[in-house]
């Protein structure tokens, strides 16, 4: 129980610090200004913050897999990740709105059905594998992995809502997940931009100008975002929503059909000469 509490603490802390690291261009200059230290170390801020984000990611990853991954979970993750990576290449094969990506379907549904840890790994590793296979590894990778991981990790939060709506197995369930997936699809694009932002706006320097404060940074980012990505991300969102709406019910049915088979455990019969055995299967 104590371990479980610590796990939750690790999830919360890494998520909090990760998010803060993502958003540093907005709060850091203002904070530094308020503390009166000016731009003494503004230059290595991006580097330090990226390292912190990387550290958080490593810790979260270790915690998520540290509680035991059976052969079944490893195999299932591997194959779903492969499938998602393939969907990421072939996404142009079937018409859909620009920026739309079918990978969010499995990440959201996988996390929703198989749990937060599974969802986190499915999301983060999907991005990782498809990036190394297509040569798309870059400094943005941890940011994308974090975001996609959070998408899957937070998906089980939809469960109470679905239960409240009494929508299990019905279209309402898919609708809840579609809205959820759409939101994250949107965030996914925004995160990518935040990564670019300090580079596009120059390393720290420019908004340490007197009078250029927190809100000025936000205002500029808003313009940048509006110009470069809003339309794209909005289409992504619409695509995700429509896609999960269209696929959600049957795909959930398939995932649930298999859930039992992935969690069977051997419980030795009490009667007879058999002694108690540890089970190797299941154990998610």
């Amino acid at each position: 129980m104590r371990q479980r509490g610590l796990s939750v603490a690790i999830y919360a802390l890494t998520t909090l610090l990760g998010a803060a690291a993502f958003l540093y261009p907005f709060w850091l200059p203002a904070a530094a200004q308020a503390a009166g230290s000016g731009m003494a170390h503004a230059a290595d801020a991006p580097l330090m913050v990226s390292l912190l984000a990387g550290l958080c990611f490593a810790v979260l990853l270790l915690e998520v897999q540290g509680q035991g991954m059976s052969a079944k979970v490893v195999a299932l993750l591997g194959i779903l990740v492969a499938m998602n990576a393939v969907l990421r290449f072939v996404e142009s094969a079937v018409p859909g709105p620009g920026g739309f990506s079918p990978i969010f379907l499995l990440i959201v549904l996988g996390g929703y059905v198989y749990g937060a840890r599974f969802g986190f790994l499915l999301g983060a590793l999907t991005i990782f594998v498809s990036s190394i296979l297509t040569g798309g590894v870059g400094p943005w990778l941890p940011y994308q992995m974090f975001t996609a991981g959070w998408t899957g990790m937070a998906a089980p939060l939809c469960r109470p809502l679905v239960r409240a709506l009494r929508a299990e197995g019905k279209a309402g369930e898919a609708a809840v997940l579609a809205v959820y997936g759409g939101l994250w699809g949107f965030l996914f694009g925004a995160v990518m931009n935040i990564w670019f932002w300090p580079f596009v706006s120059g390393p720290a320097g420019q908004y340490w100008e007197p009078g250029v404060a927190f809100f000025e940074g936000l205002r500029r980012y808003a313009v940048f975002y509006l110009v470069t990505s809003l339309a794209w991300d909005a289409m992504r969102m619409a695509g995700n929503v429509a896609f999960i709406l269209a696929m959600g019910v049957p795909a959930l049915r398939i995932l649930r059909r298999f859930r039992d088979r992935f969690t069977f455990e051997y419980a030795p019969a009490v009667a007879g000469e058999r002694s108690v055995l540890p089970a190797t299967g299941g154990g998610r």
Binding site: G78, P250, R253, R257, D260, F264, E265, Y266, A267, P268, A269, G272, E273, R274, S275, L277, P278, A279, T280, G281, G282
Partner: protein
């Protein structure tokens, strides 16, 4: 070596036990064939030997099992992996790495074998299975047979004393299957490894098998004895054995060589070689225009030309078997005929009209095509829904609105023996049933031609027989049927005409007796026993004898 005492096993959520009260003693160092109808529990029995049942699949097990001096249920698979190697059916679904050498090392890395020893073990395993030339290859570039050999190597690296294989060749073509099986025979004779193999292709392994273990479908106690003794009591057997039993040959022949001793003697006393009845006779009489005609077709697949000016006709009311080694262009020809691959030269005519410019969906209302893997077709919740989806695709039925299927569709399911499965989830059916569900889904539009790609792959004897009867029925109804197959016995049984392909050309076509009977590679067993007789199947030989 391996002992079962009153073993019963039930899968989770299963109503009936998969194994009930099995007692067995399997000797050390022998090659044991495990046979029996589908659903008799062969796979389950094999999985008990290394503890996968019950450790992997859950469920409940009673009785006791011993392998050497270990109890697989106590020891669990991680320990058992060093004593029992297990190879599975599907060569695509047992690999973790993408390179041959790394795959073989995986289990060793995992077992923390020291690097120096690991190096030695990987080298010797590569040699044992002749994989040295392939050691750096990516697994995705290997053929099915090569992959199965890698799978065997990957478990042998742990140096088990027992090797267990669950239908290792059912997804392979005959040449690859032969490679895998001869590797097994070598491992057994050279190393004295105890081998248990569940197998449908008895022809190849029978001569080398020390024992046959037969599991009956009704759950009665299994049969374990010398091959001849078991074969005499069961009816799952290759044509040679069936013929030998029918004609009372003693001792029962297991190889063509043994069989020839009997058949020569028989041919010696008054050769009764009446040619087999011409089945294509009625077709020749009413020789009409072909329903499908390929004229001088050249086609490219993945940038290289695989068909070079090929011509072939399929008439209504006949079955054409298209044979040839892998990569000779058979599948590409089928894909050309339904428009999935467009010829770069030449023309394909359907019912006298060229199919050029017509889309696949349009062509496929008239020509049904069953791809190699029927699973890729099936995705609905029930078999009936699968049919409704096809009808809807062709605009023959409104969007799946829960409306009942048309009556003639119900009749189709009945013909296919699937009526009782109309409401089943297709993926839960057996391989044979799944194939018939897929057949139903593509023939529900009442097409006039049917093209099948390797339909016997992965089917047991019973399912093959059912398929043969089905095709014969459709032929009688006037359908034009073409089957791409490696299965010579199947071709001998159903084909009116055989076309042999090689390197993108048809190199021979004609009556099966001419084309198959003369070929050392494609001759069925009966033709080998009675050369020049024109007989191809056991029935041919028995009718005339």
């Amino acid at each position: 070596m391996i002992h079962f005492r009153h073993v019963s096993y039930t899968y989770p959520n299963a109503a009936r036990p998969a194994l009930s009260d099995i007692s067995l003693d399997l000797p050390e160092g022998e090659l044991i064939l495990v046979v029996g109808p589908s659903g008799a529990g062969k796979s389950t029995l094999l999985r008990c030997i290394n503890g996968l049942a019950p450790h992997f699949s859950g469920g409940s097990l009673a009785g006791s099992i011993r392998v050497g001096n270990l109890d697989p249920v106590q020891a669990a698979p991680q320990v058992m992996s060093h004593h029992v190697g297990f190879v599975f059916q599907d060569p695509e679904a047992q690999f973790v790495m993408d390179r041959v050498e790394d795959e073989i090392a995986f289990a060793l890395e995992n077992a923390a074998i020291p690097p120096e020893e690991m190096r030695v073990r990987v080298e010797e395993t590569l040699d044992l299975l002749d994989l040295t030339p392939l050691r750096d290859r990516a697994l995705s570039t290997l053929s099915g047979g090569e992959r199965q050999r890698v799978a065997i190597a990957a478990v042998l690296a742990l140096r088990p004393e027992v090797l267990v294989l669950d239908e290792p060749t059912s997804q392979l073509d005959p040449k690859s299957a032969e490679d895998v099986l001869s590797a097994l025979v070598r491992l057994n004779t050279d190393l004295g490894l105890t081998i248990l193999v569940a197998e449908h292709r008895l022809e190849r392994v029978l001569p080398y098998a020390d024992k046959i273990l037969y599991l009956p479908a009704d759950g009665s106690s299994p049969l374990l004895d010398e091959p001849r003794a078991v074969l005499a009591q069961i009816d799952l057997a290759p044509p040679l054995v069936r013929l030998g039993k029918a004609l009372g040959w003693e001792p029962l022949p297991l190889t063509i060589k043994e069989g020839l001793r009997h058949s020569r003697r028989r041919a010696g006393n008054g050769r009764a070689a009446r040619p087999r009845q011409e089945r294509g006779a009625e077709r020749a009489a009413g020789a009409r225009t072909p329903f499908l005609a390929a004229r001088d077709v050249a086609a490219a697949y993945g940038g290289t030309e695989v068909l070079h000016g090929l011509s072939l006709d399929v008439y209504p009311g006949e079955i054409v078997a298209l044979m040839g080694r892998n990569g000779s262009g058979k599948t590409t020809l089928l894909k050309c005929m339904v428009g999935l691959v467009r010829p770069v030269r030449g023309d394909i005519r359907m019912d006298g009209r060229s199919i050029a410019g017509r889309d696949v969906a349009d062509i496929c209302r008239q020509v049904a095509y069953l791809p190699q893997d029927p699973n890729s077709l099936l995705f609905a919740e029930t078999v009936a829904e699968e049919l409704a989806i096809t009808l809807h695709n062709h605009g023959l039925m409104a969007r799946r609105s829960g409306q009942a299927l048309p009556d003639d569709t119900r009749e189709l399911l009945h013909t296919l023996g699937m009526a009782q499965h109309a409401e089943s989830y297709p993926r839960d059916l057996s391989a044979g049933e799944r194939q018939r569900a897929a057949l139903a889904a593509i023939t529900v539009t009442r097409p006039r031609a049917l093209l099948l790609d390797e339909p016997t792959r992965g089917l047991d004897y019973a399912a093959k027989r059912q398929l043969a009867n089905l095709l014969k029925g459709w032929r009688a109804a006037g359908m034009a049927i073409m089957v791409v197959t490696h299965d010579v016995e199947m071709a001998a049984e159903i084909a009116d005409r055989v076309a042999l392909m090689s390197q993108g050309e048809v190199i021979a076509q004609g009556e099966p007796a001419q084309v198959l009977g003369a070929s050392p590679l494609f001759a069925p067993q009966v033709a080998k026993l009675f050369p020049d007789s024109g007989w191809l199947t056991v029935e041919d030989a028995l009718q005339t004898a």
